[in-house]
């Protein structure tokens, strides 16, 4: 247990919604139960999952609380879990992710001692099928920067916040079924006048698997429509930082374009070196394949 002059250790509820992710659920629950922090309640919400989520939860018996609902999406599942929770602080956790045993021990004192802090997040470690191309664009924790959050959702969903704030905001918006519900929620907290706080320790483990994290759901963390909706919902915040946001967008766009310009000639080589084409030109097939792979390798970089 962490040393602190204050004897007060508020109860924390870890909310784990699960939809078609029973194969990872046990890992998530184990990491939640293994917290060094004393007052922890684990709530698992079965979001109408057709797999054996219920069986996995039954194994834990009374050590976790189990809530069931028909499939309504991650926002509603989380809200249901939080409604059922008794904790003063809330930590949402996705069923395929994990947290370090010291997560709460590190984050709770920050939230308890700083009333202006609305949510506490940590550095992120990616695991599972980490693609080296994704790793760069990941959800790595960074110091609190409201403009960055407005420009690009960079926070993972797992951050510790107060249940009273959740109630004041009105919970996660159920219209965000697939993605962006957490960004929307953090922005709502910011609108209450709260700030985020970054604990610079790798305490959250984010699983990459297959095409997307929420495997059963459509692609795109923040598609154009979702993003437009977020702008609409948090109009005041975007207006306040509009010049900075636009400048960041423009900068990102120009950088991406410069990158494409740089890569384009390589891309041309890549297509010119197609094995079939080389073979027609008289290159033996194994050599053609090797050349193609080399071009592919350089292109991927």
């Amino acid at each position: 247990m962490p040393d602190s002059p204050s004897p007060y250790w508020p109860c924390v509820s870890i909310i784990i919604p699960c939809y078609k992710q029973a194969q990872f659920l046990a890992e998530a629950i184990d990491s939640a139960l293994a917290q060094t922090y004393p007052h922890v309640e684990v709530v698992v919400v079965n979001d109408g999952s057709p797999d054996n989520t219920a069986d996995v939860c039954k194994r834990y018996g009374n050590r976790i609380r189990y809530v069931e609902q028909e499939n309504k999406g991650v926002s509603e599942a989380r809200n249901a879990g939080i409604r059922a929770a008794i904790g003063e602080y809330i930590l949402p956790l996705d069923a395929d992710d994990k947290i370090d045993p010291s997560f709460l021990a590190e984050t709770v004192p920050v939230l308890r001692d700083n009333p202006q802090v609305g949510f506490v997040y940590t550095d992120v470690v990616e695991f599972g099928q980490v693609d080296f191309r994704q790793a760069k664009a990941g959800l790595g924790g960074r110091t609190w920067d409201i403009v960055r959050l407005l420009v690009q959702p960079y926070l993972a969903c797992s951050a510790l916040y107060r249940k009273t704030d959740w109630a004041q905001v009105g919970g996660y918006r159920s219209e965000f079924v697939h993605a962006a519900e957490d960004t929307d929620f953090w922005l709502s907290l910011v609108e209450l006048g709260k700030v985020g706080y970054y604990v610079q320790k790798p305490l959250f483990f984010y699983r990459r698997h297959g095409p997307n994290t929420r495997s059963s759901q459509p692609q795109g963390r923040a598609s154009a429509e979702t993003y437009a909706r977020i702008i609409q919902l948090h109009r005041g915040l975007f207006e306040q930082y509009w010049p900075e946001v636009l400048a960041a967008w423009a900068k990102r766009y120009q950088e991406a374009f410069a990158y494409i310009r740089k890569v384009e000639p390589l891309l041309e080589d890549y297509y010119r070196l197609r094995p079939g084409r080389l073979e027609k030109l008289g290159v033996p097939l194994p050599l053609a394949r090797a050349l193609h792979n080399a071009a592919k390798f350089f292109h991927a970089r």
Binding site: A228, I231, Q232, R235, F238, E239, Q240, W242, P243, E244, L246, A247, W249, A250, K251, Y253, Q254, F257
Partner: protein
């Protein structure tokens, strides 16, 4: 590509490499999506073109027109000539539209078919961030009609107008105050209005020091006002086509010279006072020299030029540049003999410091 969008956003870009990408992003972020963006690159000598090109290549709603430097009325005319939409929305390349600007304006224009031109409010900002300053243009169309003949009642970066009306009214004409002239011509036959909402963030440049505009703004605003009066009286406009940037145009059209002198003396002299109060002598001198060159062409402006020369002498210190000071002082006295009296008062005050200083404004 949608050939007939509802709104054409027109943007004239000249040497705005730092700002134009943000402005384009602000248009692309509009909640109203049935628009095209016409960007006219007016012979920029910096990286402006390179900043716009990626957008134009990727987004078919953006049309980039590149031309050699042609200056203010002609760029705006080029942009508007390429606009295909029912409405033309103006956004300057250094300003930022808020995401629901087009939505709000289109909504209003569709529900009020008798309004031909619709502006809105702006919030000012600079590189440091948003300022707590807002425009206050009249929103009611009667109020606009009452105020417009005296002074401008719109902010150009918020304006949306009907394209047919713009075609009927005619192009921008003046090298300065070109938008004021256009509003006055709109107001001859149509209703104009402003929205009470902030539609655009308006960039205040660090070197954009003059609150009241340059000499050109003052002169051509006067010309626009005079033309509006002439149109109301006789039904025809004294200026046809694009006039040269010259004070002679005003005289030919028949603006009385004392009006020109009064306009030139009131607004810019306020700026000169401010520059002198802030110890920006070089800026003040440059403005005074310009004023003198313009006034030289205006008949019966001797007294005014005397005042300018007096101010010019005030910008030089007797210890550091005695000849320049005396030169302007003697010019002031020759142009306006009353300045002898001022000189005597100033000299007496210099010797007798207990008395209050004489004001140079008479």
């Amino acid at each position: 590509m949608n050939r007939n969008p509802l709104v054409s956003v027109v943007m004239a870009a000249h040497n705005v490499e730092r700002y134009v990408a943000s402005a384009i992003e602000s248009v692309l972020a509009q909640t109203f999506t049935d628009f095209e963006l016409v960007v006219v690159n007016d012979g920029s000598t910096d990286q402006t073109l390179q900043q716009i090109q990626p957008y134009a290549q990727r987004d078919s709603r953006i049309r980039l027109i590149h031309q050699s430097r042609q200056g203010i009325p002609r760029v705006r005319n080029t942009a508007c000539a390429h606009a295909a939409g029912k409405y033309i929305a103006v956004l300057d390349a250094d300003d930022l539209a808020l995401p629901d600007r087009l939505a709000k304006q289109v909504d209003y224009m569709e529900t009020n078919p008798d309004v031909a031109l619709l502006g809105g409010q702006v919030r000012y900002f600079n590189d440091q961030g948003l300022l707590d300053q807002y425009s206050q243009t009249p929103t009611d169309s009667e109020e606009v009609a009452r105020r417009l003949p005296e002074r401008n009642a719109f902010i150009h970066s918020t304006v949306m107008m009907r394209r047919e009306v713009f075609r009927a009214v005619g192009d921008y004409r003046f090298p300065y105050a070109e938008e004021y002239d256009l509003y006055l011509r709109f107001a001859d036959r149509y209703r104009l209005a402003n929205l009470p909402d902030v539609l655009t963030y308006y960039r205040v440049h660090p070197n954009q020091r003059s609150v009241t505009g340059t000499i050109g703004d003052v002169l051509f605003a006067l010309a626009a006002r005079h033309c509006a009066r002439a149109r109301r009286r006789t039904g025809s406009d004294p200026i046809q086509g694009i006039p040269p940037n010259d004070v002679n145009v005003l005289l030919k059209v028949g603006v009385p010279s004392d009006e020109i002198v009064a306009a030139l003396l009131t607004l810019p002299i306020l700026n000169v006072d401010r520059y002198m109060a802030q110890n920006e002598w070089a800026t003040a001198r440059a403005l005074l020299t310009q004023l003198d060159t313009v006034l030289r062409k205006v008949p019966s402006s001797r007294k005014a030029r005397g005042q300018i020369a007096w101010l010019q002498s005030c910008t030089w210190k007797l210890r550091q540049a005695p000849l320049r000071k005396l030169y302007h002082l003697s010019r002031a006295c020759c142009l306006d003999p009353n300045r002898f009296h001022d000189l005597l008062v100033a000299t007496r005050n210099k010797w007798n410091k207990t008395l209050p200083a004489a004001s140079h404004a008479r």
